[in-house]
Each structure stands twice: as structure tokens, then as C-alpha cells.
């Protein structure tokens, strides 16, 4: 018994090692420990992320020498004028938005019943299996998944042999991106359902609410913030994607491919930077709208 050893004399204090001294120093200097903790991630965020975004913004106001192709640091609004007035940019923006919204709707529509089933209906074993099944695609490389869909939808591919292939194009892009981003929507929605206590659903039934009433009046409002969180993923990831569309989209262009073309073949970095502002503005509008609904408060 420990009581006897205690009775024979006090136990020695733990030895004062260097690491102990360090931790007691940080324990008594709260601000220093906070600084040490946050310095690296903050530096990364500020230097690499915010500064490079600002550089992008600045670049958008420069132009290129039409003869040498070099960036010339003359201030101009020409790039923005081009982006906001040319029909090509408007058409591509609308097309990209349609794809991002479609992908988001498809993923949410799949994630809602799946998340509900996983958290509230399935037993622990089936739940585990389903979580793995929905996360498994994340283990495969992006390109592999995109090319897999290409073989499925391309002429003489699997769907074509069944006679139901949409062919390469916008529909195929929507299908592929819905597939690729699905885990990012299913997981938050699933945990959102998981966080709804069963007794709230019981309480609704107890007060006389049948299935549909309980669903609309209790379950949907409570899971909504998670749906929004998932939609931010699928919406923003689709908005910025430029690879899948090149693989399954046929000749279709999206904002991502347009930026890519401006930087690469076009060699016009300032124009690419100005184009990049379209998805940034769209995302800011989306997040503001989401914030208005109050959904972010419950995240």
C-alpha cells in the first residue's frame, strides 16, 4: 500500500530537469508561452498567405510589355476592365458558378441522408464501415480519381457501353467534382447529425411531432451549420479547380483554366491576377451571405 511508504517519510520531489525548468518558466510567463506557441503559424499565415495575396492584388494593376512579354510595373486598370467587360470572362464566370453550385447541391443532397443514416440509424460497426468507405477516396490521388472518371465517361468507356454516358463536358465535370469533394461535405454533415442528442428527437416526438415535423423543425435547423460548413468546402474547392475540367471537361473552360492559361501559354501574369479576383470576390460574397444567416455562429 502506498500509505505505508508515505508513513515512512515524505516522497522526494520530482528532480528539477532542464525541461521541467522550461515548462515552469512558460507556466509563469503566459504571454511568452503564447507567443512561442503562435509565432510559427502566424508567421506562415502572414508571410506566405496574406503577403502573397497582397502581391497578387498589386500585380493585377501592372501590365506586360507586348513585345518582350515582361511584366511592366506601370499602374493600370486595364486588366480589370478586360476581366469585367469581356464576354468570355462573364461566360466563364457564370459557367464556373453553375458548376460550383451544382456540385454543392449534389453533395449536400447526398450527404444529408447518408449523414443521418450513419449517425442515427446504423449500428457502430456499419457506421465505422461507412465512415471508412466515404473517406477512402481521400486516400487515392486526385489525378487518379479524375482519370478514373475520364475512363468511365469517355467514348467507349463504361457508361458509354451502357448507353448513358454524358460524354466529356460540363456534366462530366460536375459528376467528377461532386465525387471528389463529397467526403468534405459528408464528414461535417455526419458530425453535425452526431452532435444532435437523440433525446431532442425523442422530445419532438413526445410533444406530438411526427417524422417530417421533427425533421423540418428540429433536425434541419440543428444540422444546418454543418451543411453550410460542408458547402463552403465543395463550393470553394470547385470554384478554384482547374485540373478535373481539363481531364473530363472536353474543351470547356472554367475560371481556373482561364487563370492557368493566362499565366502559362498567355504569359500574362497581371491579367491572370485580375482574373483570380473573380473567385475571391465570389467567395467573399458567399461567406458574407452565410454569415448573414447566422450559421457560422454555431459552427
Amino acid at each position: 500500500m502506498s500509505q505505508t511508504s508515505r508513513a515512512e517519510g515524505r516522497l522526494p520531489a520530482p528532480p528539477m530537469t532542464a525541461s521541467r525548468r522550461l515548462s515552469s518558466f512558460f507556466a509563469t510567463h503566459r504571454k511568452l508561452s503564447l507567443t512561442a506557441l503562435l509565432a510559427a503559424p502566424l508567421a506562415w499565415l502572414v508571410l506566405i498567405y496574406i503577403v502573397s495575396l497582397l502581391l497578387l492584388l498589386v500585380t493585377a494593376f501592372w501590365s506586360t510589355d507586348s513585345f518582350t512579354g515582361q511584366v511592366v510595373q506601370d499602374w493600370t486598370l486595364g486588366n480589370f476592365t478586360a476581366v469585367f467587360t469581356e464576354a468570355l470572362y462573364r461566360a466563364v464566370t457564370v459557367r464556373t458558378l453553375i458548376i460550383a453550385v451544382s456540385v454543392t447541391i449534389i453533395d449536400v443532397v447526398i450527404a444529408l441522408p447518408v449523414g443521418y443514416f450513419m449517425s442515427k440509424v446504423a449500428g457502430p460497426r456499419l457506421r465505422g464501415a461507412l465512415v471508412v468507405a466515404f473517406l477512402m477516396p481521400l486516400w487515392a490521388a486526385y489525378l487518379v480519381k479524375a482519370y478514373a472518371w475520364r475512363t468511365i465517361v469517355s467514348p467507349h468507356g463504361l457508361l458509354d457501353s451502357l448507353g448513358i454516358s454524358p460524354g466529356l463536358g460540363l456534366i462530366a465535370t460536375i459528376i467528377t467534382m461532386s465525387y471528389i469533394w463529397l467526403p468534405y461535405v459528408v464528414m461535417p454533415v455526419y458530425t453535425g447529425f452526431e452532435r444532435i442528442p437523440d433525446n431532442l428527437i425523442e422530445a419532438a416526438g413526445d410533444l406530438g411531432a411526427k417524422g417530417w415535423n421533427t425533421f423540418t423543425a428540429v433536425i434541419v435547423p440543428l444540422v444546418w451549420p454543418s451543411v453550410i460548413a460542408g458547402s463552403i468546402f465543395s463550393f470553394s474547392l470547385t470554384l478554384g479547380d482547374y485540373i478535373a475540367v481539363q481531364i473530363v471537361g472536353g474543351s470547356q473552360q472554367l475560371l481556373g483554366t482561364l487563370i492557368y492559361a493566362n499565366v502559362g501559354t498567355g504569359g500574362n501574369m497581371p491579367l491572370a491576377a485580375a482574373t483570380a479576383f473573380i473567385p475571391i470576390v465570389v467567395i467573399v460574397i458567399y461567406l458574407t451571405a452565410v454569415r448573414r444567416t447566422g450559421a457560422l455562429k454555431n459552427l
Binding site: A203, D206, A209, L222
Partner: protein
């Protein structure tokens, strides 16, 4: 006991198995209209499962459940005229206080003005008028408790089921809520079925109590009878404190056959100077002052006997040899079936 008319709730042979385990194992129960009925037992005794079966959150694997004479065990919870106050209140976090209370009224498609009025009345009754627009997260435990009560009785059920509703409150608040609950039940005039593991709470509040252990009912009786005439060893030890004499001890010390119990307050010490031998003799092991009384633990052979004396009784030192006396009328014979000593 077979006639169930006039009964708010009747259970016959109700059983709920989870695989091999019987959480509820053959329960027969009749609860009268307007009764404050408690289901008392330790955790895992099946009391909450019975409550959930009555509410309709779970279905019995065997047996029948009737509400006001109508079989309901195959009906969903929304088709039963009972409402539940959940252990952790189960308030809807996305709705404010009055919206929570209005929930059942909204489902019943009661006009907005009318349901606002009914909800306000219910909140007034629970003295929550000022908190209408708060979210559940902004309320204290006692306030949440009151909202849960208001939400349940505002829809005017015949039976209110309460699942350890006071469990999460501190002692002071709990005592206050006990009084409020009792008043509420009297004013509403409906049946309350109250689940608790707290024997004191059950004794204080109830018209009748069913004592549960291992999925079975040990005894159903008034608080007074339960205390003075416990039927089984389990009831004797779970409701209040008891000195238990198993068959051997009863035979050796009391000269009786069977199992017996004597309440500590029915034992008394014999003054040493009287020179009379007591009916039990032993050595004082411990003595505790508990406000209105002293509790003395005495070793009588292998038995640990507890004696309760009013405060101000002569002091006894640890190690004193003492003689103990009692009246035959206070020795209670216990049923020996369903033995499961606590």
C-alpha cells in the same frame, strides 16, 4: 389487480430484453389517475426503461401497456397522451424559451395568438415570464428544468413522465423544486410518474412508490408502509438504513428463523448501571453526529449494527461494551425471494 379501468396506466407482464439481458423482466403495475407515483431504484434497475416504454420511445418485447384503458404499446410516442420531462431537459437549443414551450402547440396546429397565450400562461406558472426570449444555453439548470416542465404540461397531457428531473440540480434547488413539483401536480390534477434513485426524494413526494431492482418490482406501497414494513431485504436496505439479519444471524441473535430487519431508530442502548442484559451486546466501533441525532455503529459478533439516538443522548466511547434492546413489534420479517443484498 386485473381490472384496469380508472387506471391512468396499466402494465401487464411487461418485458424489455436487450439481447440476453432483461432490462425489464415481467413488470405489472397500476397507476391511478391523479396519483404522484414514483419508480425508485438504483441505476440499471429498469425504472427508466419502464418510463421509456410508457412514453413510447421503446417497445416492450412482451406484455401490454394501457393508458386510460387503451392499449398503446404499439403506438408511437406522438400518438400517446403522455409527455416527458427529460433528465437533461432536452430543450431545443435553436429555439428560445417561449418557442420551446410552444413546440407541442405548434405541432397541434393551434393558432399563433392562442398558442402564445397558452405558452405565456405556462411560463408565468413556472415564474419564467421574464425569460421568454432567452435561448436554453443562457439559462441556469433550475430555469431549464422549469422550461422543460412548462413545455411538457402546456399541451395538457393526462400523464406527465419525469425522468430524474432533479438529478442535475444542487441540493438546495432540488429541495425547492420538490415543493414546486408537488404543488404543480396538485394544481394540474394529473398523474405524475417520477423516476428517481433518491429514496428521500421518492418518500417526500410520492403517493405511492414502486421499488425496482434487477428489472423487477420489489414492492409497491405508500412511503409510510415502504419504510415501516419493507417486503424484501433490498427494499429494507435501499429505503432508509436498516439492520439486516440473514437466516444465520437471525437464528443466533434473535432466535428466529427467516430474514429480519430492524430500523436503527428502533434500537436503544441499555444504561450500563441498570445491570440488565440487552437482547444484543457488542462493542462501539464508531459514533457520528448527524445534526438531529447520533448514529452509533456497534460490532455485534460479525454483524455491524447501526443505532440511531436523539442528539443529547449519553456519550459513548469507541471500544465501550454496550447492550442493545428493542421491541418485538419493530422486528420485521422479510420476503426472501429476489434476494439481492445491497
Amino acid at each position: 389487480m386485473t381490472e384496469s379501468s380508472g387506471m391512468a396506466i396499466s402494465l401487464r407482464g411487461v418485458e424489455r430484453r436487450f439481447g440476453e439481458v432483461a432490462a425489464v423482466d415481467g413488470v405489472d403495475l397500476d397507476i391511478a389517475e391523479g396519483e404522484f407515483f414514483s419508480m425508485l431504484g438504483p441505476s440499471g434497475s429498469g425504472k427508466t426503461t419502464v418510463l421509456r416504454l410508457i412514453a413510447g420511445f421503446d417497445e416492450p418485447t412482451a406484455g401490454t401497456i394501457e393508458l386510460a384503458g387503451k392499449p398503446v404499446h404499439h403506438l408511437a410516442s406522438y400518438d400517446r397522451d403522455v409527455n416527458t420531462v427529460f433528465q437533461d431537459y432536452a430543450l431545443f437549443p435553436h429555439l428560445n424559451v417561449i418557442e420551446n414551450v410552444e413546440f407541442g402547440l405548434r405541432v397541434r396546429r393551434i393558432a399563433k395568438a392562442k398558442r402564445r397565450q397558452l405558452a405565456r400562461e405556462a411560463l408565468e406558472r413556472m415564474r419564467l415570464g421574464a425569460l421568454e426570449t432567452r435561448r436554453p444555453g443562457e439559462l441556469s439548470g433550475g430555469q431549464r428544468q422549469r422550461v422543460a416542465l412548462a413545455r411538457a404540461f402546456v399541451v395538457d397531457p393526462k400523464v406527465l413522465l419525469l425522468d430524474e428531473p432533479l438529478g442535475a440540480l444542487d441540493k438546495k434547488l432540488r429541495e425547492q423544486m420538490q415543493i414546486e413539483l408537488k404543488d404543480l401536480q396538485r394544481n394540474l390534477g394529473i398523474t405524475f410518474v417520477f423516476v428517481t434513485h433518491d429514496q428521500e426524494e421518492a418518500l417526500t413526494l410520492s403517493d405511492r412508490i414502486a421499488v425496482f431492482n434487477d428489472g423487477r418490482i420489489q414492492q409497491v406501497d405508500t412511503p409510510e408502509n415502504l419504510y415501516s414494513a419493507p417486503a424484501t431485504e433490498f427494499v429494507a436496505s435501499f429505503v432508509g438504513t436498516s439492520n439486516l439479519f440473514d437466516e444465520q444471524a437471525a437464528h443466533r441473535l434473535l432466535g428466529l428463523s427467516g430474514t429480519y430487519t430492524i430500523r436503527p431508530e428502533n434500537l436503544r442502548f441499555i444504561a450500563a448501571e441498570s445491570g440488565r442484559p440487552g437482547r444484543l451486546s457488542g462493542t462501539v466501533r464508531n459514533r457520528m453526529f448527524i445534526g438531529s441525532s447520533h448514529r452509533t455503529i456497534v460490532d455485534v459478533e460479525e454483524l455491524e449494527i447501526s443505532v440511531l439516538e436523539p442528539a443529547g443522548s449519553p456519550n459513548r466511547e469507541i471500544g465501550d461494551a454496550v447492550a442493545i434492546d428493542f421491541n418485538d413489534a419493530d422486528v420485521r420479517k422479510l420476503r426472501t425471494d429476489g434476494l439481492s443484498a445491497a
